[in-house]
């Protein structure tokens, strides 16, 4: 990574001079990025919590805000959601990357993920486990399940959001992510948020 960064500094310099970017075509593989990162919490059949990491999440809206989450293959989390119709989604911030990495590298079918120390409580609106370490957590109820060839897409209504008390004076219309510090994912790699560049509507204010 270090080497790549050095080599590309020059490229970055060159890039600043150009407006339009010369492009090449690459194969349509796993190149969709950047992706937000979430820890998904569900309840196992025996009442224990299960957590895993999902980055295939987008938003949607139908009268109220919804999350749109997709999962391939078969995972304990998927089994739980298909059975219970609910899940929690915790924004992965820099300070809980260690926990996300643990959940992401272990398998829920091998039993409860309790090799590292963390704590949880059950949601206020929905019976889903909420991580105490999380700064931003959604309690969701699935309203629609769409099945694809090999994957499931869950459209879920956001029933409640729990956020860190420290954010209570934050402008929620124009959230400052440099304060929340979410981790950003691109295949296999984690990145941080850099700086706040501006706010929606600035073009109108500043004009050309």
């Amino acid at each position: 990574m270090e080497k790549l960064t050095k080599e590309t500094k020059q490229i970055m310099k060159e890039r600043l001079i150009m407006d339009n970017v010369e492009k090449i075509s690459i194969k349509p593989q796993c190149v969709f990025n950047p992706q937000p990162m979430y820890i998904i919490g569900t309840r196992n059949e025996n009442g224990t919590p299960n957590f895993c990491v999902i980055t295939w999440i987008g938003f949607s809206f139908d009268k109220t805000p919804h999350l749109m989450m997709s999962m391939g293959g078969s995972k304990q989390t998927k089994t739980n959601i298909l059975r219970e119709g609910k899940f929690s989604a915790h924004m992965i911030t820099e300070d809980i990357l260690w926990l996300a990495d643990y959940f992401g590298n272990t398998n829920g079918t091998d039993g409860e993920k309790n090799r590292v120390k963390y704590s949880y409580e059950w949601g206020q609106q929905v019976q889903v486990p909420i991580l105490q370490e999380s700064h931003w957590a959604y309690e969701c109820e699935v309203t629609r399940t769409m099945e694809l060839d090999g994957a499931h897409l869950f459209l879920a209504e956001i029933k409640n959001i729990q956020i860190d008390k420290a954010y209570q004076n934050m402008d929620m219309e124009k959230i400052d992510l440099t304060q929340i510090k979410p981790a950003i994912y691109a295949p296999y790699q984690y990145f941080s948020i850099g700086e706040k560049l501006g706010e929606m509507g600035e073009w109108q204010v500043k004009g050309n």
């Binding site: 490229i11 010369e22 075509s25 949607s60 990357l97 929620m172 948020i193 929606m200």
Partner: protein, 186 residues
């Protein structure tokens, strides 16, 4: 940690930013920012882009009619363009108040923004109506990337593409933090 519940009115903090390009009925290009984008897969390695579009915007009408679209990653340098496209309506005609150039995509009938460092050319596979929004499942026909960015099987260095993250505010990507497993090993 102490938390409080805030109901669910303000709820969408981490959104990757894209500008979707479509052709209008008269052949002119239309561009609009769309941030409700994620992905899914079929079988093993058959990836689909999933887009949710609310309301009746021009991009949605075009996508339903043509079944073709380009998804242009918004880089830091394109912020003004994204904000402009977002503040104007395609129903009022082609968005020409600020200068930009575009080209036809290589594999689908859709316009692409020349400034974008990463463009995904898509064909709509299916549309599912989900109340006030529609969910578009799009087959990826081609991906174009800034030729100066090296790609290998081990992903892409986001700091080179400089994508914008949207939350109502716009943010840049900071630094590389590690890769899968790095924190677990420690």
């Amino acid at each position: 940690m102490k938390r409080k519940s805030i109901g669910c009115s303000h709820e969408m903090p981490v959104q990757p930013a894209f500008i979707v390009g479509t052709y209008n009925e008269d052949g002119t290009p239309n561009f609009a920012p769309i941030t409700w984008v994620s992905m899914t897969c079929e079988k093993d390695e058959d990836y689909l882009i999933v887009i949710s579009m609310w309301g009746t915007k021009m991009t949605k009408q075009n996508t339903i009619r043509n079944g073709k679209l380009s998804i242009n990653m918004v880089s830091k340098e394109m912020l003004k363009l994204m904000d402009y496209f977002g503040q104007t309506s395609g129903a009022q005609g082609m968005k020409t108040d600020i200068p930009y150039t575009y080209s036809k995509a290589e594999c689908v009938e859709a316009p692409t923004l020349d400034m974008s460092p990463w463009v995904c050319e898509c064909e709509v596979q299916s549309i599912v109506n989900t109340g006030e929004s529609d969910t578009f499942y799009c087959r990826v026909k081609n991906v174009q990337i800034d030729e100066k960015v090296e790609t290998d099987n081990w992903g892409i260095d986001l700091t080179l593409l400089n994508p914008v993250i949207y939350s109502g505010s716009y943010h840049s990507i900071g630094q590389y933090l590690g890769e899968i497993g790095d924190f677990y090993k420690k």
